[in-house]
Symmetry: C2
């Protein structure tokens, strides 16, 4: 009843197809990727892709679920304190560190959010919940002020972080440095920390 290779798992052709599909979907957008391209990248026949996932749409949701599972795992680890998060509370950076270099998952997330896909919204919700939990913890320890509108405050901080993932290329273009690379991340973190500490209007918190 079980899959033949479900025990010694992720080398199965099914998983290979899913992974190649993830890469192609992230790079070109799901609509302009053909079943034949995926099959060729995975070294199998087009028929097998349909055999395993029922349809191209089925493959898409399998990829969605896989990506969601990866994020859920990371969020769970982050909330349990299992991730180091030493870099100024940036989950975006932490994410990149815990993904294989060159992973297509950030690119795919970008596509999910851009298209307003339901799977993307779910991940966004989860991210927001994790951010809210982190905020509460910081507030409880007196390390952060809750603000008048804690939900909005959490959203703002979260979104400033998420942006690094979503607009990485465009930011790299105007700044001349990859904001998620070594140098860029340091510059970004320093400046953001300065704003979070002193605001925008004075270097040492001059009141107006």
């Amino acid at each position: 009843m079980l899959n033949m290779r479900s025990a010694h798992d992720d080398r199965t052709a099914r998983a290979v197809i899913r992974d190649r599909a993830l890469e192609l979907f992230a790079a070109q957008g799901p609509d302009s990727v053909t079943v034949r391209q995926i099959a060729s990248a995975a070294g199998v026949s087009p028929g097998l892709v349909i055999h395993h996932f029922g349809s191209k749409e089925g493959l898409r949701s399998a990829v969605d679920e896989h990506v969601a599972a990866v994020f859920d795992g990371l969020f769970a680890r982050a909330e349990a304190g299992g991730l180091d998060m030493s870099d100024g509370g940036s989950f975006a950076e932490t994410l990149l560190e815990n993904l294989p270099p060159g992973s297509s998952i950030p690119g795919y997330l970008r596509r999910l959010l851009l298209a307003g896909d339901a799977a993307g919204t779910t991940i966004f919700r989860r991210w927001f919940a994790a951010g809210a939990a982190a905020t509460e913890a910081l507030v409880a320890r007196g390390l952060m002020a809750p603000g008048r509108d804690p939900a909005v405050r959490t959203a703002f901080v979260m979104v400033g972080d998420l942006m690094l993932l979503l607009l990485r290329d465009q930011l790299a273009d105007v700044l001349g440095v990859d904001p998620l690379g070594a140098e860029g991340a340091a510059r970004w973190a320093e400046e953001v920390l300065d704003i979070y500490r002193n605001g925008l209007f004075g270097t040492e918190g001059e009141p107006s």
Copy 2:
């Protein structure tokens, strides 16, 4: 030599096709929109679409150029001070106010940026330049501190604003309020202003 109707312009079929294409592209993504859908939405034959734009790709770039022109116009007016920008310096809000309600341009911009399209990068650059100019003006008048890394600071502020456009739906989902609607915008602006004034760590700028 000139187009027959190029004088009393934007009611020409060519413009109608371009506008319907913009709407469909923004809603579904260019790849999953067919020439026949566009033709049908514009009330013309598929052949005419190609007749006017050469190819579907030609139509895409015509839409890109049109969107870029709209943005350029707005940036020019903003830099000249012709836009009121009374709402806490949010260009996203100003943009929405100067666009017909329900315009597809924000949605199309989202697609351009998240797909990494060159046209999107161009608009992003222009936006950044406008933000940098606004920042400089504020700094010159002593209304804002330049920070240690002015480029990064400008990018951060700009990106926090741009987010409202790009993640509007997701933010509305987690906040329960459209952050670009009347109530949501007020809440958002108030909280962001608080952060920009006092930072994240204290309501009245308590140093650590």
